[in-house]
């Protein structure tokens, strides 16, 4: 049976089930432009829903992309009623959490618990923790982001139906998806210890007589719940962004394989900065022709390797894609694939950003 896959994101843009959309790839391939374009198209096609575009890249670009300042509080994009943007630095948020915990521990020193937490957190113990469990720093950062989103919803009085993440180019954003497996092994080991020591361990852990095994299993169950959300293909998907060059293709393949190892759904690839020079008879630039020939070679490989993926081929525009108007013009080709002959003029129609 031959299943043809449309070379556009029409089904994702009009999806009513997706809650989490991650957009990622290596640096300089157009992640931010692509994530902004996806967010704009979704907001335009579903005007009754609220969308949040959030950048977790410490080198934020959303403000530059839209030409207006965004911060860690969600703010609506000027000209759009149902699209908000937010820029948050997860590592800074994690550091704030650590500092907050330390200051709380110091102020709680009288009840005896403070020494325990303070001595754990001070002196870089948090760094020791994050360094030894793979994915834990990403998980803690991500939880901080989720908490922030929750606060925004409560502050704004409206909920976001879909959240689009413009991820950092490091590719470690979703490493925490393997955390439940890691936690399982650690919990098993810790369970072995608590089984052997029994009540003696609780008496050493201080007041409250907390059922440690129960709480740890609860933690594991909760982390598993998070993982279930992000591995449900109807709720979450990852859109890979690349360019038609060898290294980008290689990195994209590795990224896809890593995501598959996390059981994350990935079915769309955006290929940016394509020249389509064979249709550009008017200018006939020799350099562009040579470069387009190179791009075509890798495009053929992409078409062959990713025949079961939505491969969206986006053109290299004559100007920068900045500002809502330019992004809206550019983003239309995510919904309806770019035709170099019919749509060729659009790439020259981008407005100069003042």
């Amino acid at each position: 049976m031959d299943l043809t896959v449309e070379p556009n994101l029409h089904s994702l843009i009009n999806s009513t089930t997706h809650k989490w959309i991650f957009v990622g790839g290596k640096g300089g391939v157009g992640k931010t432009t692509s994530s902004c374009s996806i967010a704009i198209q979704m907001a335009l096609s579903q005007p009754n829903k609220q969308f949040l575009l959030i950048s977790t890249d410490p080198a934020h670009n959303l403000s530059d992309a839209f030409g207006e300042k965004f911060g860690k509080d969600a703010r609506k994009v000027s000209g759009m009623d149902n699209l908000s943007c937010m820029e948050i630095d997860p590592s800074a948020a994690l550091k704030d959490m650590n500092d907050m915990a330390v200051s709380r521990a110091n102020s709680n020193g009288s009840d005896g618990q403070g020494d325990d937490l303070g001595s754990l957190l001070q002196g870089g113990a948090l760094a020791d923790l994050t360094g030894s469990i793979p994915g834990i720093d990403e998980a803690l950062s991500f939880m901080e982001v989720m908490k922030h989103i929750k606060r925004q919803e409560q502050g704004e009085g409206e909920t976001f139906d879909t959240v689009i993440f413009d991820t950092a180019p490091t590719g470690h954003t979703l490493r925490f998806l393997q955390l439940p497996n890691t936690l399982s092994k650690l919990l098993d080991k810790f369970g072995e210890i608590t089984n052997k020591l029994g009540p003696m361990l609780n008496s050493f852990m201080g007041a409250g007589n907390v059922d440690i095994s129960g709480k740890l299993n609860e933690l594991k169950a909760n982390v598993e719940t998070i993982r279930q959300q992000f591995t449900d293909p109807d709720l979450t998907t990852f859109v890979c962004v690349c360019i038609s060059e060898f290294l980008s293709l290689y990195e994209t393949e590795r990224l896809i394989q890593e995501l598959i190892s996390y059981d994350m759904d990935v079915n769309s690839i955006i290929v940016n900065q394509l020249l389509f020079a064979e249709n550009d008879q008017e200018h006939n630039c020799k350099r562009c022709q040579a470069r387009w020939k190179m791009q075509r070679k890798y495009l053929d490989q992409i078409d062959e390797l990713y025949e079961d993926f939505h491969v969206i081929k986006m053109p290299l525009c004559a100007g920068e894609i900045r500002g809502l108007n330019n992004l809206t013009k550019f983003s239309q080709f995510l919904d309806k694939e770019y035709d170099p002959v019919a749509d060729g003029k659009v790439i020259y129609e981008l407005e100069d950003k003042e």
């Binding site: 049976m1 031959d2 089904s11 834990i136 908490k147 361990l201 095994s213 933690l219 590795r254 394989q257």
Partner: protein, 309 residues
């Protein structure tokens, strides 16, 4: 006479029409599911590495073409303990308990933050993922029960065979060391000390040379013996480490009851950092010390026998 038809073309057209009809009957969800399965199939059973090989091969690249999807699932570089249970690296092992304590306390503190009380009802939009963790602050009773993990999982046959072989190598090394030391060095030396003029030495002319005079002098016994023991124990220790390095198995970690007892003590309870590591080091040195004591005992016994006879 009927119209001349092309039966094969007609048949293939009807097959295509049937496929088109089948496709139209598929819902979007079913199409997505089928595509997902096809994608997963292409990345399984070595397909992932072959894809990377294809990419790097066509560009004549030296980049790594091993896929994480095709990598074996066993942990690499983890020494298998001689008791037969593979455990994580000692860094995680010794700090797992305080790490979880920290994680638990951090999660509890998150629950104390504004607007995220544990009593808030679950939200249907953005999932209240963090309140899931903050609910740990309420001291809920334990879950359905911890899995029964008190028993170690049975060792795989191949690992047990490796451990047995390792034990065999260690015993063999120890036996040969003792044999060589006692028979080829200590016994002749003691015989030379107690019977320097015995007829047997005429066959070994070098034993009567001036070079061996210090060895024949009983007052030098302590120096000679100590030097010999130092050299032999150093060589034995190096050979022991070579065997451990080749087989990637460490001794003493779980076979020793004292080490097992110490590993049960949570880090921080006893104000000695890395207590388990220190105990293991002490036991290693005890192993060498016991060899020295054995040699001294042998020397004493042989001296007694040679003197008496």
């Amino acid at each position: 006479m009927g119209i001349c038809t092309l039966p094969s073309l007609t048949a293939s057209n009807s097959i295509k029409q049937r496929h088109t009809v089948e496709m139209a009957e598929l819902t979007e969800a079913e199409k997505r599911r089928l595509l997902r399965e096809r994608r997963q199939q292409k990345f399984s059973n070595g397909g992932a590495s072959s894809r990377l090989n294809k990419i790097t091969g066509q560009a004549s690249s030296h980049l790594n073409a091993e896929s994480p999807l095709d990598a074996p699932s066993i942990p690499t570089g983890t020494p298998v303990e001689s008791s037969g249970v593979a455990t994580p690296a000692s860094k995680n092992d010794s700090s797992a308990a305080p790490q979880f304590d920290l994680l638990k306390q951090l999660a509890a503190m998150q629950g104390q933050g504004p607007g995220s009380g544990s009593g808030s009802p679950p939200d249907s939009s953005t999932p209240d993922l963090f309140s899931l963790l903050s609910s740990m602050n309420t001291g809920m009773p334990g879950a359905e029960g911890t899995p029964s993990l008190g028993q170690a999982s049975p060792m795989a046959p191949i690992n047990q065979a490796a451990l047995d072989y390792h034990d065999y190598l260690l015993n063999k090394l120890k036996a040969w060391t003792i044999l060589v030391k006692w028979v080829f060095f200590l016994l002749p030396y003691l015989f030379l000390l107690t019977r320097p003029n015995a007829a047997v030495w005429s066959a070994f002319a070098f034993a009567q040379s001036a070079w061996f005079a210090p060895l024949r002098n009983p007052s030098n016994f302590t120096t000679v013996f100590a030097t010999f023991e130092f050299l032999s124990i150093s060589i034995y220790y190096q050979l022991l480490k070579n065997v451990e390095h080749k087989s990637k198995i460490r001794n003493l970690q779980d076979t020793n009851k004292l080490v097992k007892l110490v590993s049960l003590v949570p880090e921080g309870m006893i104000p000695i950092p890395n207590l388990k590591g220190k105990i293991v080091t002490a036991l290693q040195y005890w192993d060498l010390l016991s060899m020295l004591i054995t040699d001294i005992s042998f020397v004493l016994i042989m001296l007694g026998l040679l003197t008496y006879l």
